[in-house]
């Protein structure tokens, strides 16, 4: 179902063609990074720290180097030490420990051998002497007076600092007079919340193949959300010039933010350089969970003031994010989720605290889900206390265009009210709550980002087009590029071949994150097509013998008065005689990414004797601006929702006292399975983003923001207990019921 807000009618945009890369993916032919093998290739394996925090006194690799099949061994000594002020310092240290291991699972050596088994055997033969250091695992331990340092190189960002500390960042945002508003309020609700570390949970482990040739140039095939990012970070960690590296994007088996950074490529490159052979490096699932990007755990305190008629007059909130062992976490803006509501008086404080746990990484709308869980829970409690409908209280306070964001800048045209109204009018919300079940509502948004993209569009002799971009396709973006190009050029979407090209075959493009691919890269494609149409008109004018001004481009044909329309294929057929190949490149640094709002609704039951939650019905409403390929927009909503349901109910990192992850497998890190879920109904709202030629807002991130509160609010209405700790696993729900 789609709600359209005066959206223009398009021929291709908004249709649902079969995605261009689909055939390879249903026949097993699509090439993911681990599917590639090169002649003479070696296999690599890591030695990882068994300790949560320790000084490396010595590493003896001599025995390992002499083992059967072993061709190269690397340790931290094989990588240059970046200056701690270097923006890539933390990535470098995480790729390979120098001097100190900062978490259990931290890589400190790697071996390349003829077979995986030989590499693993050699890893086991590396001798390391450690001096154990204190292990800090929680926010309280990290922030305690006199706490031992997690990472001696950490300098706090954004505030004055007198040396290393465990504080990563600290931000405060204020407006109005919070104290006065609380004093005058009819109702004040204050709650504390906490959330666990969760993993992005992509099914494809990180993988790469690297071949460093005799000329010193590295060919890298890797699975990532941005191959230009891989090139830049790999060069930085190796101390190489960027031009020494070419990165070819493999198909990526899921990222969700977790593949916006690197782990493997410099290690494989150094092993390849030392051995003179191509090196393949593939993580195991256990390694993925122990040593790649969880999203931060968090604690929060939320205090909201309301009037008796449901106006939210003030918010005072504090968020503490547990960001792991390094300080390149930049996601605190996610705490700005409070800006879903007008809140004339606002105080928002957010800190990041370091711990001896894996370096955290981005995960869909980084840091917003933790905040929205807390805020949306308190708003629901206010609605319950005031006996207001949970949609009405949100409509009463929802931000609209011109209202300030948390940082003060006014919101552009947004669709929050439209989403709330769409849910209010939906079949789901108008249906009675099933017997024995309860219904919860939650909302949230994500800013989305623009950044740099490039696109090249080549017209082929037969009138077809190749659309080349540098954005790895993590959820169907190639189809979206083809649809926008088809709309612009006026040719069939299947006449377009969308390609994601390597770093030497397309212009620079930032990482696929922040829901930016269809927005920014799509805009580059549109710009290239529009330039191409200008060129097509000129060629048509030549062919038809008329002035350029007399030619207009209509539905894939050059039209001029008194002559038959000239289709695109007739122009490309005469490319040589009219000036040569028809090809255009466009690049941009896109601003104007439009925030995407969502409202979710969930019906569930709680087994009050076991604490088990069963989700009966779920609807996700979200503003897509314009849905270029509605099926994949729905898919983003559904996927984000189910990740959020996993975060809400069962997903968590469990560490022992020494910082070792106890549940580093898909058996015990419990992501939702098909039988856990009902269908996820979607309502795609379309309030076009004025800053995009087709009105696109990114849709990938927002879907994960509302589910935790949506589920928690339904649990409260089912049981009368307020769950304030994620995950809301059966033992925690039962314990809460028992103490109620």
């Amino acid at each position: 179902m789609t709600v359209t807000d005066d959206r223009p009618t398009y021929k291709w945009v908004g249709t649902r063609p079969i995605r261009h890369d689909g055939y390879e993916k249903v026949t097993g032919k699509a090439r993911f990074a681990a599917d590639l093998d090169l002649p003479g290739q070696l296999h690599a394996a890591y030695l990882r720290s068994p300790h949560g925090h320790a000084r490396i006194l010595s590493i003896d690799t001599a025995a390992a180097a002499g083992m059967p099949g072993v061709k190269a061994v690397v340790t931290g000594a094989d990588f240059p030490d970046l200056d701690p002020t270097d923006p890539n310092f933390d990535v470098s240290v995480n790729v390979m420990a120098r001097g100190t291991v900062l978490y259990n699972g931290h890589a400190l050596a790697a071996v390349a051998a003829s077979t995986r088994a030989e590499a693993a055997a050699a890893v086991a033969a590396i001798q390391v002497e450690y001096e154990l250091l204190p292990v800090i695992l929680t926010l309280e331990e990290s922030m305690a007076d006199g706490a031992p340092l997690v990472n001696e190189h950490n300098i706090t960002k954004f505030v004055e600092s007198d040396g290393p500390s465990n504080l990563a960042t600290s931000n405060v945002v204020e407006r109005g007079d919070v104290e006065a508003a609380f004093a005058a309020a009819d109702l004040v609700v204050e709650r504390e919340f906490d959330t666990a570390y969760v993993h992005q949970g992509y099914i494809e482990p990180h993988a790469c193949v690297v071949d460093v040739g005799p000329n010193g140039k590295a060919d890298i095939w890797a699975s990532s959300q941005g191959h230009f990012m891989v090139r830049a970070l790999t060069a930085s960690v190796l101390g190489w010039e960027t031009s020494r590296i070419k990165v070819t994007p493999a198909e990526i088996g899921g990222g969700f933010g977790g593949k916006t950074t690197i782990y493997l490529e410099p290690v494989a490159a150094r092993l390849s350089e030392k051995s003179g052979r191509p090196v393949k490096l593939v993580l195991t699932r256990e390694e993925v969970l122990r040593a790649t990007g969880p999203a931060p755990a968090s604690k929060s305190r939320i205090k909201i003031a309301a009037s008796n008629d449901g106006e939210l007059t003030a918010i005072d909130c504090w968020f503490g994010y547990v960001v792991g062992c390094t300080n390149d976490f930049a996601g605190l803006v996610g705490a700005m989720s409070v800006a879903s509501y007008k809140f004339p008086n606002l105080k928002l404080e957010a800190i990041g605290a370091l711990t001896n746990t894996p370096k955290s990484a981005a995960y869909r709308a980084p840091s917003a889900p933790q905040a929205a869980f807390a805020i949306e829970s308190v708003i629901d409690e206010i609605a319950q206390t005031l006996d207001m409908d949970p949609i009405d209280i949100r409509l009463r306070n929802a931000v609209v265009e011109g209202d300030p964001t948390a940082m003060g800048m006014p919101h552009p045209r947004i669709g929050f009210v439209e989403c709330l109204e769409a849910l209010r009018d939906s079949d789901h919300y108008r249906s009675p709550v099933p017997d024995g079940a309860a219904r919860g509502i939650g909302a949230g948004f994500w800013f989305n980002i623009g950044e740099q993209s490039s696109a090249t569009v080549n017209l082929n002799e037969d009138g077809t087009a190749t659309v080349i971009t540098g954005s790895p396709d993590i959820g169907g973006s190639r189809a979206s590029m083809a649809l926008m190009a088809a709309e612009e050029l006026g040719i069939d979407v299947y006449s377009i071949t969308p390609v994601v090209a390597d770093t030497e075959s397309v212009g620079f493009t930032d990482v696929t994150e922040g829901s930016r691919a269809t927005f920014s890269t799509g805009m580059a494609v549109v710009n290239a097509c529009r330039d191409l149409i200008e060129e097509l008109r000129a060629r048509a004018a030549t062919i038809l013998g008329v002035d350029l001004d007399a030619v207009t481009w209509v539905d894939g044909t050059a039209v001029t008065d008194g002559k038959d329309p000239l289709p695109l294929s007739a122009i490309t057929a005469k490319a040589k005689s009219t000036g040569g190949p028809l090809t255009v490149t466009a690049s941009l640094n896109a601003g104007g990414a439009g925030p995407s709002f969502a409202v979710h609704c969930c019906d569930l039951t709680v087994d009050e004797e076991t604490g088990q939650v069963t989700i009966l019905r779920y609807t996700a409403v979200q503003d897509a601006g314009t849905a270029i390929h509605p099926s994949y927009v729905e898919g983003q909503l559904q996927g984000g929702t189910v990740q959020g349901i996993g975060w809400a109910l069962n997903e968590e990192y469990i560490f022992d006292d020494a910082g070792s992850m106890e549940n580093a497998s898909f058996l015990d890190y419990r992501i939702p399975v098909a039988s856990d879920l009902p269908m996820i109904d979607t309502i795609v709202v379309e309030v076009p983003n004025p800053a995009h030629p087709y009105g696109v807002r990114g849709v990938g991130e927002t879907g994960i923001v509302p589910p935790m509160a949506t589920v928690a609010n339904a649990i409260t209405r089912a049981t009368s207990i307020r769950m304030t700790s994620l995950p809301m696993s059966p033992p925690k729900i039962l314990a809460a019921l028992d103490t109620d």
Partner: protein
């Protein structure tokens, strides 16, 4: 590491005798994850699935004989078997995904000696006997006597389970198995409860309760069985006070640990809840001749 696939019990017995430290396997659904997590690989793998006796299911003269390596899916798809042992079948149907159940076996589920193995409480409740190949013959012992602790069994080096035997259930007797997992599938039991009981003239005349995942091994709870025996069934419902005594007895029998899968308090509490529910289901089945 060498892979072998003997076709007779004798051949397997010889391989195990010749190669100390070697491992028998059927589905390898526990073996492979253990090897991946760094446990040393055995010098010789002995695949038992080529031995016809270990892969057969027979039903003769009121007795079932189940080859120890038979995939559990073969049993859960056997309508005669599932009709007679609905609880044991439920337990086998909960061991992982369809992919796993096409490999997992009763022999492996038992010999792996996980406290949380789903089929074990249901086998014990049904009085299943294990036939074990010894160095020079066979011995038959109740399933309850195989597992001695987490990862430990009473099987001597070189011994392996050949088959299981169990007798038909009378028409007035049935069983049920319930487990608690946080998801709906693909999890290890936090608590498992198997109940087998007999109902005669609306009175429970016999009952066995066996719990899983709440102690180092599956535990039979005589007090829980005793709570049921003599309880009256009214309109299909077990007497409330008997159910409460049953639940308390089940909870009291728990000797669990706090671990990544559940807390002590949770396991105790839910052991009572599931046992009560399993008893209700078993009564319904017994009265309907299931």
């Amino acid at each position: 590491m060498r892979y072998t696939s003997p076709t007779t019990v004798d051949e397997a017995r010889s391989l195990l005798a010749e190669h100390p430290g070697s491992r028998v396997f059927a589905g390898a659904t526990d073996l492979v994850p253990q090897m991946r997590s760094g446990r040393p690989a055995p010098p010789v793998l002995v695949d038992l699935k080529k031995i016809a006796q270990l892969m057969s299911v027979t039903h003769e003269n009121g007795q079932w004989t189940i080859g120890a390596a038979t995939p559990t899916a073969n049993l859960t798809r056997n309508h005669d078997f599932t009709a007679m042992f609905p609880g044991l079948s439920e337990a086998m149907g909960l061991i992982g995904s369809d992919q796993i159940q096409n490999r997992s076996s009763l022999g492996g589920n038992l010999a792996n000696a996980s406290p949380a193995a789903d089929s074990v409480p249901a086998m014990i409740a049904n009085g299943v006997q294990a036939v074990i190949a010894t160095a020079d013959g066979t011995r038959t012992v109740p399933v309850a006597e195989i597992v001695t602790g987490p990862g430990r069994t009473s099987l001597a080096d070189g011994e392996f389970i050949v088959e299981f035997t169990l007798a038909d259930t009378p028409a007035d007797t049935s069983d049920a198995y319930l487990r608690m997992i946080p998801r709906t599938e693909m999890d290890i039991a936090i608590v498992g409860s198997a109940v087998r009981l007999t109902v005669s003239d609306n009175i429970i005349t016999d009952a066995t309760v066996v719990l899983g995942a709440v102690a180092p091994t599956a535990v039979t709870v005589p007090d829980a069985g005793a709570a049921l025996i003599g309880a009256a069934i009214n309109a299909g419902q077990i007497d409330d006070s008997a159910l409460n005594t049953l639940a308390d007895a089940a909870s009291a029998a728990c000797d669990p640990i706090d671990d990544k899968r559940g807390t002590v308090a949770y396991r105790r509490r839910v052991a009572g809840v599931l046992t009560r529910r399993a008893a209700a289901t078993a009564v319904e089945r017994a009265q309907n001749g299931a």
